[in-house]
């Protein structure tokens, strides 16, 4: 414990003289290898695209990128390295909530800014919120709350819900239940990283449910949707966008067609920033962007907007500039709540086939100007 506090003291001393005039150094810790790499790569590519499109405005930004391998211990080491030897001013990039919980509290305690481009665990949104922590994506519960609202609107009354047993999974199910008014015909927690869902699908089959809500990001979702289609159960699926985002739709294939999912972003959102982003992303990387890419893009633009107004060395001014969220978001209207989490619309999307590519299209709005359930507990 003493060694840790000494390290923190040294780091703060070093940091105070670190950042030079006009410059800003971003440390990006994200998942670039292993099964979750697709998410991190999309987020990184979106982020870097925004800097490229900003041209000279982004000249003062230096980005240090490293791979957390989806392991909390590696993420903590990288954060220490970036804060102490790279002397970054702003940290970002973490995809997974369990990694965010390991890194964020220590980073903001060392007077660094942390801008989350994906993970939004409830533990950081309520009583443990922090002035230097901003979430540019969503609070974890948001898309699931929207799925609950959508289940009501679609007239479902007996939903079977499942999610992995980890912080974002429990957030997912409690988020869904917050808005869903029907009965639950089953509630199951699966193992994180599980890839065979035959036991759960057998339970769904015998439960008499009229719909299934699931939150299974990355490879877990691919496996579930394929196995669900193969099982012939046939009850409608609903889920957050993570299970149907562009990075995995190619692997899921036609099994996903027609599924409704909820998202704060979609590539067909009609605003200038989004059109420029989608076209730019396709031109630069030759594939359609996912919502992770849009979140990376928005995060970079938020940093640029704050940089234009204040020096990062003047923490209070920089924080005020961040809070203003004075940038053109790919989501259209975007502003920060009192706990530095977004207030935004959440849409219902449908998986469709367009010119031979399986993708999403907006079919409705699930929640308008949604903040989150924890903002009141946040005192800062």
């Amino acid at each position: 414990m003493r060694r840790i506090s000494t390290a923190i003291a040294v780091a703060t001393l070093l940091a105070s003289g670190a950042a030079g005039a006009d410059g800003l150094k971003v440390g990006m810790i994200t998942t670039l290898s292993g099964g979750g790499a697709g998410l991190g790569i999309d987020a990184r590519d979106g982020f870097m695209l925004a800097l490229k499109m900003a041209g000279p405005a982004a000249a003062g930004i230096e980005v240090v990128i490293d791979d957390d391998q989806q392991k909390p211990d590696v993420a903590v080491q990288l954060a220490d390295k970036m804060i102490q030897s790279d002397k970054v001013d702003v940290l970002t990039g973490i995809i997974w909530s369990n990694l965010a919980m390991a890194v964020v509290p220590a980073a903001v305690a060392q007077d660094k800014f942390y801008l989350s481009l994906n993970a939004g665990p409830s533990a950081l949104a309520g009583a443990n919120c922090h002035p230097n922590y901003f979430n540019v994506a969503w609070q974890n519960d948001n898309l699931h709350e929207a799925a609950g609202a959508h289940a009501n609107a679609a007239g479902y009354g007996k939903t079977f819900i499942l999610a992995p047993n980890y912080p974002a999974g429990t957030d997912a199910l409690s988020g869904f239940k917050r808005f869903y008014t029907g009965a639950l015909s089953g509630e199951v927690y699966t193992q994180l990283g599980q890839t065979d869902y035959a036991p759960e699908i057998a339970q769904i089959r015998s439960s008499g449910a009229d719909s299934v809500f699931f939150f299974l990001p990355g490879g877990m979702g691919i496996a579930f949707v394929k196995q669900y289609a193969e099982s012939g159960v046939g009850i409608p699926l609903i889920g957050p966008a993570f299970s149907f985002s562009q990075d995995i739709l190619g692997a899921v294939g036609a099994a996903a067609l027609g599924v409704k999912n909820t998202a704060q972003w979609s590539k067909d959102l009609d605003n200038a920033a989004n059109q420029a982003f989608v076209a730019g992303f396709q031109a630069e990387y030759g594939r359609l962007p996912s919502l992770y890419a849009s979140q990376g893009f928005d995060t970079a633009n938020l940093i640029l907007s704050a940089m234009a107004k204040a020096e990062v060395t003047d923490q209070d001014a920089f924080r005020t500039a961040l809070r203003a969220a004075d940038f053109a978001s790919t989501r259209g209207a975007f502003r920060f709540n009192t706990n530095h989490h977004p207030i935004q619309d959440i849409y219902v999307r449908e998986v469709v086939e367009e010119n031979g590519v399986i993708t999403n299209r907006i079919v409705g709005v699930a929640l308008t100007d949604r903040g989150d359930a924890y903002a009141e507990q946040c005192k800062m």
Binding site: L32, S33, G34, G35, A37, G38, I41, N165, E187, V188, Y189, T190, Q191, G193, T195, D196, A198, P199, E200, A202, Q203, R205, S206, G219, I222, A223, K226, Q227, E230, S231, G232, D247, I248, G250, A251, V252, G253, A254, A255
Partner: protein, 306 residues
């Protein structure tokens, strides 16, 4: 819990066990015959899945892809054995673990480099895509029944190969006394390459079958590798029969545990707590079984006598 549901869950356990067997059989052969701990076995599983997905996408035929998965993983296995593993037999297990761990990283990143970071598409062949209604009204996916059948066929084939053929005699002899077999004029180096390629091919086949219903992505082999090690430790290292029994035991325990434990716990706990505790306890169950087996028989169920 209805009888139909119990029957379906039992089939699920059987199918999961068979999948683990395909993975564990190669691992246990290589360890038993060559005394080598091959951590890269999971990477060969991934190679098989990617080969299947790539060939199936290019040719439009799942069956060509399945053949390609066997061939690609076996060829990769033979190449690795000749180029790297051969130098490690005389070394201790730590060196083998280090080298084969390095192989995981090399194979994973090479695969990413060739195929990209995003999961590949691999779907069921048309013939096996529906469900089958079994006697008693159990509706079960045809492809999972096929996996069970393939698992039993591979088990039968391996027992025949090891118990009834000349190659099998040599494999067993090589397991017992390497120097003596070499002195009797058997080309032990070639035999080892064959065994390693056989193990790799089985892993590749498992990867292709599993990739079809799960996801074909970099790093897909490592979680299965851990379970395969649990299986061979339970079954007894080096025993194919042990791998079969161990795999079925792990498959059944895991599936039925996951299906029944959370429900059983609702009798003593309130539902919300039972779900959380049940899910956590179910994931520990196979390790508890492993510990129990090891207390009872320290060398595993069918392990060689000391």
């Amino acid at each position: 819990m209805s009888a139909v549901l119990i029957a379906e869950q039992t089939l699920n356990g059987l199918q999961y066990g068979m999948m683990l067997f395909l993975m564990a059989a190669g691992l246990t052969l290589v360890f038993g015959v060559m005394g080598l701990i091959n951590l890269a076995h999971g990477a060969l599983y991934m190679v098989g899945a990617f080969a299947c997905a790539a060939v199936a996408a290019a040719s439009g035929s799942f069956w060509l892809g399945l053949g390609a998965s066997l061939a690609a993983a076996a060829a990769m296995g033979a190449l690795i054995e000749v180029a790297i593993i051969r130098r490690l037999y005389a070394r201790d297990h730590l060196d083998q673990v280090l080298a084969t761990f390095a192989l995981i990283l090399v194979l994973s990143e090479t695969t990413r480099w060739v195929f990209g970071s995003f999961p590949l598409y691999l779907s069921l062949p048309e013939v096996l895509s529906g469900t089958v209604t079994l006697p008693g009204g159990v509706v079960y996916p045809a492809f999972r029944l096929a996996i069970i059948t393939i698992g039993f066929a591979v088990a039968g084939g391996l027992f025949w190969l090891i118990g009834r053929t000349r190659v099998g005699i040599r494999i067993r002899a090589g397991e017992a006394d390497r120097e003596m077999v070499a002195a009797l004029g058997v080309d032990i180096a070639r035999l080892y390459t064959f065994v390693f390629a056989l193990g790799a091919g089985l892993a590749g086949l498992a990867g292709a079958l599993v990739g079809t219903i799960q996801s074909v992505q970099v790093g897909m082999g490592e979680p299965v590798l851990i379970l395969a090690f649990v299986v061979i430790v339970i079954g007894g290292i080096g025993s194919v029969r042990g791998a079969l029994v161990g795999a079925l035991l792990v498959g059944m325990t895991d599936t039925l545990g996951k299906a029944m434990l959370p429900q059983a716990l609702t009798l003593v706990l309130e539902p919300a707590a039972a779900r959380g505790v049940g899910a956590a306890a179910a994931s520990m169950l196979i390790y508890i079984v492993m510990a129990g087996v090891l207390v009872w028989r320290p060398r595993g169920l069918f392990g060689a006598r000391a």
